[in-house]
């Protein structure tokens, strides 16, 4: 069953800007799905329509089989939203934010109290339950928004850049929380500008650009399309010039650092043998860029106006 189905979804704002140009998208139940795109591509508009914050111009949205127009309450009951910006009442305590949210979804008081305790403990916020929310740190506020989105036990959790602006330690703990939530059966749709985040967490991915889906695939297939990988090599001894190795592009960055572009068919073992033969000893190696980031930039650059739209899932 699909957790989410979008059909020919279009949105034109009052100023004439066409944010969505008829997108089709399916997200399977249980998936951890990445919806990526540059700023202004249409991600937030799409999420706004799915979560009823933006009125669509045309097209349909179905959530777990419930049409958002015809079965509005049932469709909305399935969704939990973590927005980009903090949007809870900053004068409320953490506990009352979650209890109110549960109430909006018709959760009886006793169950709401149980769910609130469970979600706050899951997000490591239970000891902050009586704290007025404006006194929380940025990372805690983000976790409050995730706990709030989970308090009515949604089947579909939408995370709109949930880790923007938080430090790496909190980001990693949030990744772990998201994975746990997904493993418990909640479908997750994630938008993020941290492509490393999408690559490590998500199984399927759609890339949106200029209001169109320009890529829709599973992560493994997408990454398999990379023909060339870029590495940074640290050398044991300084070299005067970049070595020449057939099939690879090598650039000398400093006297002890090289950038190497290696085609997929060229094994790293061969590369190291060829470097050793030239008396170059490599002490460490790392990816120059995140693999998904490289693909993402290729796709965005090749679709400057969204002309190569491919809505199909491969």
């Amino acid at each position: 069953m699909n957790a989410l189905s979008l059909r020919n979804l279009r949105k034109t704002y009052n100023n004439g800007f066409e944010a969505l140009k008829g997108i089709d998208l399916d997200v399977e139940a249980g998936d951890f799905f990445a919806l990526l795109g540059p700023n202004g591509a249409g991600k937030s508009t799409a999420i706004g329509i799915i979560s009823s914050l933006v009125n669509e111009s045309s097209g349909s949205v179905s959530i777990f089989g419930h049409d958002l127009r015809r079965e509005r309450a049932k469709a909305k009951s399935c969704i939990g939203l973590v927005p980009q910006e903090v949007n809870f009442n900053q004068f409320d305590t953490v506990k009352s934010i979650l209890l109110n949210q549960a109430g909006y979804y018709g959760t009886p008081r006793k169950l709401a109290l149980q769910r609130t305790e469970y979600c706050l403990k899951q997000m490591d916020l239970w000891d902050k339950r009586d704290t007025v929310s404006r006194r929380l740190s940025g990372g805690m506020k983000r976790r409050v928004m995730i706990a709030r989105a989970l308090v009515h036990a949604p089947k579909l959790l939408i995370l709109d850049e949930p880790t923007a602006g938080v430090d790496i330690e909190i980001r990693r703990s949030m990744w772990q929380m998201m994975q746990e939530v997904n493993q418990q059966g909640t479908t997750i749709i994630l938008t993020t500008h941290y492509l490393e985040e999408a690559e490590s967490l998500c199984r399927n991915i759609a890339i949106i650009n200029h209001g169109k889906i320009v890529e829709n695939s599973d992560m493994a297939s997408l990454l398999a399309r990379l023909h060339i990988e870029h590495f940074v090599l640290d050398l044991a001894r300084p070299i005067a010039a970049a070595p020449v190795i057939e099939g690879c592009q090598i650039e000398r960055v400093t006297d002890k650092t090289l950038n190497v572009a290696v085609p997929k068919e060229h094994s790293l073992n061969t590369l190291f043998s060829q470097l050793s033969a030239q008396n170059i000893e490599v002490t460490s190696l790392k990816n120059k860029t995140n693999r998904l980031e490289q693909l993402f930039m290729d796709l965005i650059d090749s679709n400057p106006t969204g002309s190569k739209a491919t809505g199909d899932k491969s």
Binding site: A73, P83, Y104
Partner: protein, 254 residues
């Protein structure tokens, strides 16, 4: 889906909000109206004599109570709902499976409760200055509740259409306050020249204040039935307009 829980959640949230900030919401009307009663009712009123057989103090008490009900029911909804918009926690309500009528009902109920609570506070303050025997309890309570409903709905519409904090103070300052003062709080409309009597009778607040005055002290310048028709008409019109705005997402959605 149990909408009564969502409704209760919004109403409870609203009540807790104005109770939490009671120095801003419940205390000022007590002080302001005590001064009204002292200055206009006691010091000046004793020299004015009676109006329609009632002492001046007794005459102004109903108008001051209802004026407080009007301003506070309006202020509660306009400030609360606009703050909800401004802080973007309106999104909590829009994402949740709550029908528009529940959102409207919740906020308007909060406004009615605060308006009536302030009315009770002002009535208690008035008892320090005069003894009032209620003439007709049903009319008194129903007019107070209907008036609070009208102005809670009006506050809701103002909040939806407002784009800045300035926009939520324009109507109270430049429309509600003048209409309340010109609605016969401090005088009988019969004391005005004919032309101004006709103009005054275009002011709906005049009907509400006089009907409320009739309920409390049995004195009125207007037909009580007309007051019920006017307030009922306003409630129906404002409710339909509020629901239309919510349905279209005007002022709250992109």
């Amino acid at each position: 889906m149990n909408y009564s829980i969502a409704f209760r959640t919004i109403v409870t949230k609203e009540i807790l909000r104005f109770i939490r900030i009671w120095p801003q919401t419940l205390l000022p009307p007590a002080i302001t109206t005590a001064l009204y009663f002292l200055i206009f009712g006691k010091l000046i009123g004793d020299r004015i004599g009676t109006i329609s057989g009632a002492s001046y103090m007794d005459y102004i008490v109903p108008g001051i109570i209802l004026m407080s009900v009007i301003s506070h029911s309006y202020a509660n909804v306009v400030s609360s709902f606009y703050s909800t918009k401004f802080q973007r926690n309106i999104e909590e309500l829009l994402v949740a499976p709550i029908p528009n009528w529940v959102i409207l009902g919740g906020y308007v109920s909060g406004g009615i409760i605060r308006g009536l609570l302030v009315g009770v506070v002002v009535a208690l303050i008035s008892l320090l200055f005069t003894d009032i025997t209620v003439n007709n309890i049903a009319i008194t309570l129903s007019i107070a509740a209907l008036t609070a409903t009208v102005f809670s709905l009006a506050g809701f519409i103002n909040a939806i259409l407002a784009e800045s904090f300035d926009d939520i103070s324009i109507i109270p300052n430049f429309v509600l306050t003048p209409l309340s003062y010109l609605g016969g709080v401090f005088y009988s409309v019969n004391m005005l020249p004919d032309f101004w009597q006709i103009i005054s009778k275009g002011n709906p607040i005049l009907y509400m204040i006089n009907a409320f005055r009739y309920g409390l002290i049995g004195v009125t310048d207007v037909d009580i039935q007309m007051t019920f028709i006017i307030t009922g008409g306003f409630i129906l019109t404002l409710t339909l307009f509020s629901l239309y705005l919510l349905h279209k997402g005007i002022g709250i959605k992109n």
